[in-house]
């Protein structure tokens, strides 16, 4: 059983043979699927590189040809030859330079297309992954996967195509011409392939480890950085700057040492390749020298062979550089492909059942829930909430109130049983239909960069400004928004746009108001509001909830007052269920709850 599925075992550096093969394959497969859609353009770019390199290789040949063949004709007064040579040279030069420009541009296009493709894939996939995943995989890692890991791919693509294509073409060209010149000498040169293969293999094994390590270490640097910056208030208030420095210094040094190791590896590969090349030239001299001595090779031919042999090895450096970036990029893609391999536990159906206009009837049938393979959190239960009902859920912290809410919002799926909206299983609904019908306001009211209006518009992106203002008015947020420096256009990150937790909750209520769903879930969404604000929200809710289905989790009894029905949740079970008056009469938990409330009012 492989321990390297998805992001599991992501921090392991030394892998068993099976795991290693698996992650390498996964990484290469990802690279292939990225290259697939643009293979035509890739080939075109490669062709441009070839022609341009060919043209540049022709230039010295033109000079030689000019001196050997044309010069005598010019001396004879053939001025046309002069013009012909000059013209041919200029034309080739323009071709070489022009094509270099074109392929530089084309390579950037190809590289950026692949990069954009991957960026979107990773972003989309990260968003699709369920909360369970996000709760264990830190945001720092997600960010590191989407920034520095993708950066290595970009480094490969930017220079890689021209390095690889022109390098290989040049080596092949020169090697073939050597075979044509003198196959015996060519064999000596081909013999160099053996030590080259050995050193590449040596480099492959080591660089793979070092680069794999590099991704882990850079993710650590990034995670530490991001966590410190997002928690800077607490860092400052509790004087953790020095401790933060220490931790960051550790991870940054770890990362630096790794960088040094990877560079040093390449620092050995490169001179060794050069050494092999130079020694091969010496070997050609040795073999050729003796053949000159015994008269089987002309001196002039030997010079030609030696220079060609020297030239064969020139592009090897570029190929080595390509291979270096390739190793770095595939190590990064190991991690990225792992992330992409993670399957969301909550998936959108392939063939969703349409629900264009929901009524809002929610029903649990023989429902059981536990996180992943963990223990059961909600024991088997049935629950029917007819459309338009306002249900208050009460219970102690940890009793399972939030779980109930998150199930209806489909943050999680049931372990067993069924949960339907208007008779349709939630798992058969498209995201669009589900989100149009069900919206949840969470405890944390996160604001995104952008204006206050943008943040409210999150509830319904196509809303007009009037609608946004109306929603803000409805929940009593209008006044404070107007008092901000630029009103609704105030950037929440800038110019005093920082708003308090209570104000953030109001904004998130306005979002929900604007979203106008059939089923509204409020998960202790009023906790940070002061009493007047809460009262306003309450009034807004009463209007808003009119014909809507609502599930309200609150720890204030005033909220319960507006409910048609109350559920008392205890230890993962619904222990009481009925209208407030029924429950009051029943003599259970809610009875005493209500009694206490009555007492406080008198």
């Amino acid at each position: 059983m492989s321990g390297m599925s998805g992001v599991a075992g992501e921090d392991n550096i030394e892998l068993g043979a099976d795991d290693r093969r698996r992650v390498r394959r996964r990484s290469l497969r990802l690279l292939k699927t990225l290259a697939g859609p643009i293979r035509g353009r890739l080939a075109g770019t490669a062709l441009l590189v070839l022609v341009s390199a060919g043209a540049r290789a022709t230039l010295p040949l033109l000079v030689a040809w000019a001196i050997d063949s044309m010069l005598p004709r010019v001396i004879d007064g053939d001025l046309a030859a002069l013009g012909f040579v000059g013209g041919a040279y200029v034309a080739t030069a323009i071709t070489a330079g022009g094509l270099l420009g074109v392929y530089t541009w084309a390579a950037a296009n190809v590289s950026q297309a692949m990069l954009l493709d991957l960026r979107l894939r990773v972003f989309r996939h990260t968003q699709l992954l369920s909360l369970e995943f996000h709760e264990t995989y830190t945001s720092g890692r997600v960010i590191s996967r989407q920034t520095s890991d993708l950066e290595t791919l970009r480094e490969l693509l930017d220079q890689g195509i021209s390095q690889l294509v022109s390098g290989i073409a040049f080596v092949l060209f020169t090697a073939i011409s050597m075979f044509i010149l003198d196959w015996k000498t060519a064999l000596v040169v081909v013999g160099a392939a053996v030590p080259i293969a050995i050193i590449f293999r040596w480099y492959q094994v080591r660089s793979e480890l070092v680069y794999r390590e590099s991704r882990v270490f850079s993710a650590r640097v990034i995670t530490t950085f991001v966590e410190t910056m997002t928690g800077i208030r607490a860092v400052k208030a509790f004087r953790r700057e020095a401790a933060g420095d220490e931790k960051y210094t550790d991870v940054a040094h770890e990362y630096r040492d790794n960088t040094l190791r990877s560079i040093s590896l390449f620092g050995i590969l490169q001179p060794v390749l050069m050494l092999i090349g130079n020694l091969t030239v010496a070997a050609v001299l040795l073999v050729g020298g003796f053949r000159v001595l015994d008269g089987s090779l002309a001196v002039g031919a030997l010079i030609g062979l030696l220079l060609t042999a020297k030239r064969v090895f020139q592009p090897i450096e570029a190929i080595a550089m390509f291979y270096n970036s390739f190793q770095a990029a595939t190590a990064a893609l190991e991690k990225v492909s792992g992330l992409l391999e993670e399957r969301p536990t909550v998936v959108e159906p392939a063939r969703p059942q349409p629900l264009p206009a929901a009524e809002g009837a929610v029903e649990f049938k023989r429902a059981v829930f536990g996180y992943g393979d963990g223990p059961v959190v909600m024991e088997e239960f049935d629950l029917t909430i007819p459309a338009g009902q306002t249900v208050a859920v009460v219970g102690q912290t940890g009793a399972g109130k939030s779980t109930l809410a998150k199930l209806i919002a489909r943050f999680y799926d049931l372990t067993a049983g069924e949960l339907t909206l208007d008779g349709v299983d939630l798992r058969d609904l498209s995201q669009d239909d589900l989100r149009r019908a069900v919206v949840m306001v969470t405890q944390e009211a996160f604001l995104f960069s952008g204006s206050v209006a943008d943040n409210i518009a999150l509830g319904r992106p196509e809303a007009t400004r009037e609608e946004i203002v109306l929603a803000a008015r409805a929940v009593g947020a209008h006044e404070f928004i107007e008092s901000l420096p630029e009103g609704y256009d105030t950037d929440v990150n800038k110019r005093g746009g920082r708003v308090s937790a209570g104000q953030r909750q109001l904004i998130s209520f306005a979002r929900a108001f604007l979203a106008d769903p059939r089923v509204l879930i409020l998960d202790e969404a009023t906790s940070s509001l002061d009493i007047p604000s809460e009262r306003l929200v309450q009034q807004a809710l009463e209007r808003l909830l009119g014909e809507r289905t609502a599930l309200i989790i609150a720890h204030r009894l005033s909220t319960v007052e507006i409910a048609d029905r109350v559920l008392v949740v205890h230890d993962g079970r619904i222990v009481e269920d009925g209208s407030p008056s029924e429950l009051i009469a029943a003599g259970g938990r809610f009875t005493s709850l209500h009694q206490a409330w009555r007492d406080s009012l008198t």
Binding site: V85, F123, A234, S264, A282, S500
Partner: protein, 616 residues
């Protein structure tokens, strides 16, 4: 979401190349010797590379055409092998000399940036997305290392090679050399325009990449909201548009470079074409030797690679320059909240807080109304003062002024008779502990999170401190976590509920044993019973600790000795709860006494003990 360009950078002042790179000099000075040695190795390697073909030709022509002894062949082989090994050695040495010190500079700049960012005021961090900062700390600095280790050295080596090559060319034929040199004029002119366009494009792409990282960061941190509203598609669309913009900038940048490189490669060769034309004519005319013509073109062919290299390196240098500009932009942002040169220590540290005519307005919104506006307030030693006011009245901002997380723009905040600005910042923040309205927890164990600000106390173990803080904050739930207090709580404590997070944040403030406890509505997600228990325990355990607490509910207020009513950035009234109820209509409006019933949990908890063993 993702629709805005939102890095908090100020308008960037254009700096020259020398200005920007000049700032590196202090860092470079200690490693200059190694850089020069590295450069010399590179230069020498390129000389050896040039020499080898000549040596080969010479060997074959002289040694082998003579009487031709086997020993002569061996000698030749030995020379070539040695030269070859020497070249490889030089290449290896070049890296050995430069790699480690340049990686050292990269890391020290990275640490420096981090340190500085930690010193920069909260107001700075409000404006800057952490993705934007991250890109400056990672990508930009690794670019700098590569430029120092490779780009700068190769730029020098290639330039010297080209100059030497030109000298060679002049010795072969000055007319041809002049023609070749003439090609440099249009390139130089073009280079100026290229510089401006490419520099701007490179800066733009780096900024956009940073903004993209910020979007990625927000999309992860805000994932619940995105999911709750089903805005995954909009988030993706926003990201898509931004990523496309970055791609377009990158392609624009590449096209600029491509155009310039085409010119750099084609133009010298075109002038060589003219040179060939002229050269052939001169040679035919007898004014130039064939050998000189051949030598001239051999040199030109050799230079072509270096000329191209200079073009590429110029691009790299510009990119590095903009990356450095971005780095220094952050470094140059002043850490405005620092300790004075001669910090003072209060004579009577009792936790006495006095605010005199305090005003605050956000630093980048000088025209806007003051958030705190000429406020006066006193918290006496050992007293618990509740701060009550409507949403947006400035309570949270006010609390930030006490430990100097924001700096008051007017008036004075005094703790124990000293202005907070007279304290050593660390000493000040040791004296004050804050529990924020959002509970910021870090990815580590419960223990580390709670003991974050705790100092060792004589006669008490860390375990005692931890147990006490958890007990006071009613956070006994941690003992039910899988590994108890050693349980790693996820990033920002995400796997805990809001109420649980708040209790840990509160325990942290308590464990710090401050003189002044500042609590920003830290109990909002708690039920009143827990809140009451917490406050009661607080009073007994932290005897003599002054407390300033933002309160939204009467239950909290009634536990305070006095209440300050805040409205529009000012304290409108101070008194006991009943006094204020009696005389302030606004207070009655805000706190709405009598309107608040006990919480659901409170009653249930009571019930729970009463109905034990009775499955309802």
């Amino acid at each position: 979401m993702a629709h805005h360009q939102r890095s908090g950078r100020a308008d960037t002042r254009t700096t020259t190349l020398t200005e920007t790179f000049g700032r590196l000099v202090p860092h470079l000075r200690p490693i200059m010797a190694r850089l020069v040695l590295g450069g010399l190795c590179a230069l020498l390697a390129s000389v050896v590379a040039l020499t080898i073909p000549r040596v080969l030709g010479w060997l074959v022509n002289t040694v082998l055409t003579g009487e031709g002894a086997a020993s002569a062949v061996w000698l030749g082989v030995a020379i070539v092998a040695l030269l070859g090994a020497f070249e490889a050695l030089l290449i290896w040495l070049r890296r050995v000399f430069v790699i480690s010190p340049t990686a050292g500079i990269e890391t020290s700049l990275r640490l420096n940036l981090f340190r500085h960012l930690q010193q920069l005021p909260v107001a700075f961090h409000d404006r800057w997305g952490s993705g934007q900062l991250l890109s400056r700390s990672m990508g930009d600095l690794s670019l700098l290392r590569r430029w120092m280790a490779f780009g700068s050295i190769m730029l020098v080596v290639s330039s010297l090679t080209v100059i030497a090559g030109l000298a060679f060319m002049f010795s072969s034929s000055w007319i041809l050399a002049l023609i070749y040199l003439a090609g440099a004029i249009p390139i130089t002119i073009r280079a100026f325009k290229f510089r401006t366009v490419f520099r701007d494009a490179s800066r733009l792409s780096q900024d956009q990449a940073g903004d993209l990282a910020t979007t990625v960061e927000e999309a992860v941190h805000g994932i619940r909201v995105i999911k709750a509203f089903g805005r995954g598609r909009e988030a993706l669309d926003g990201f898509h548009a931004q990523a496309q913009k970055l791609r377009d900038t990158e392609i624009h940048k590449a096209r600029t470079l491509a155009g310039f490189m085409a010119l750099v490669v084609a133009l010298p060769e075109v002038t060589l074409g003219l040179g060939l034309f002229t050269g052939l004519w001169l040679t035919a005319d007898g004014q130039l030797l064939v050998g000189d013509l051949a030598a001239f073109f051999a040199t030109a062919a050799f230079l072509a690679g270096h000329v191209e290299g200079i073009g590429m390196l110029l691009g790299m240098t510009l990119t590095t320059k903009t990356a450095l500009d971005r780095h220094y932009e952050v470094i140059d942002s002043p850490a405005t909240i620092t300790s004075p040169d001669h910090p003072r220590v209060p004579e009577n540290p009792a936790g006495h807080l006095v605010m005199r005519d305090v005003s605050f307005t956000y630093p980048d919104a000088p025209g806007a109304a003051n958030v705190v506006d000429g406020l006066d307030l006193e918290v006496r030693p050992g007293e618990t003062m509740a701060l009550v006011g409507g949403t947006g009245s400035g309570k949270s901002t006010l609390l930030h002024l006490v430990p100097r997380l924001y700096e008051a723009t007017g008036g004075a905040v005094e703790l124990d008779g000293l202005d907070v600005r007279e304290y050593d910042v660390e000493a000040l923040r040791t004296a004050i502990a804050v529990a924020f309205e959002d509970s910021i927890l870090f990815s580590s164990s419960v223990r580390e999170n709670v003991l974050l600000g705790a100092r060792p106390q004589p006669g008490r173990t860390a375990d005692d401190q931890l147990a006490e803080a958890l007990d006071v904050a009613q956070a006994q739930f941690v003992h039910d976590l899988p590994d108890g207090v050693e349980t790693l709580i996820g990033e920002e404590g995400l796997s805990l509920s809001g109420g649980q997070r708040q209790r840990l944040a509160l325990a942290r403030a308590i464990a710090a044993k401050p003189r002044l406890l500042v609590l920003d509505d830290p109990l909002s997600a708690l039920d009143v019973r827990t809140e009451e228990a917490v406050t009661a325990r607080l009073r007994s355990v932290l005897e003599g600790t002054s407390t300033l607490i933002v309160a939204h509910r009467p239950s909290t207020v009634m536990l305070a000795d006095r209440v300050a009513l805040m409205e529009h950035g000012r304290i409108k009234d101070v008194g006991t709860h009943s006094e204020l109820l009696a005389r302030s209509a606004h207070y009655r409006f805000v706190i709405a006494a009598g309107d608040e019933p006990p919480s659901v949990e409170e009653v249930l908890d009571t019930e729970d003990t009463a109905t034990e063993g009775d499955p309802a």
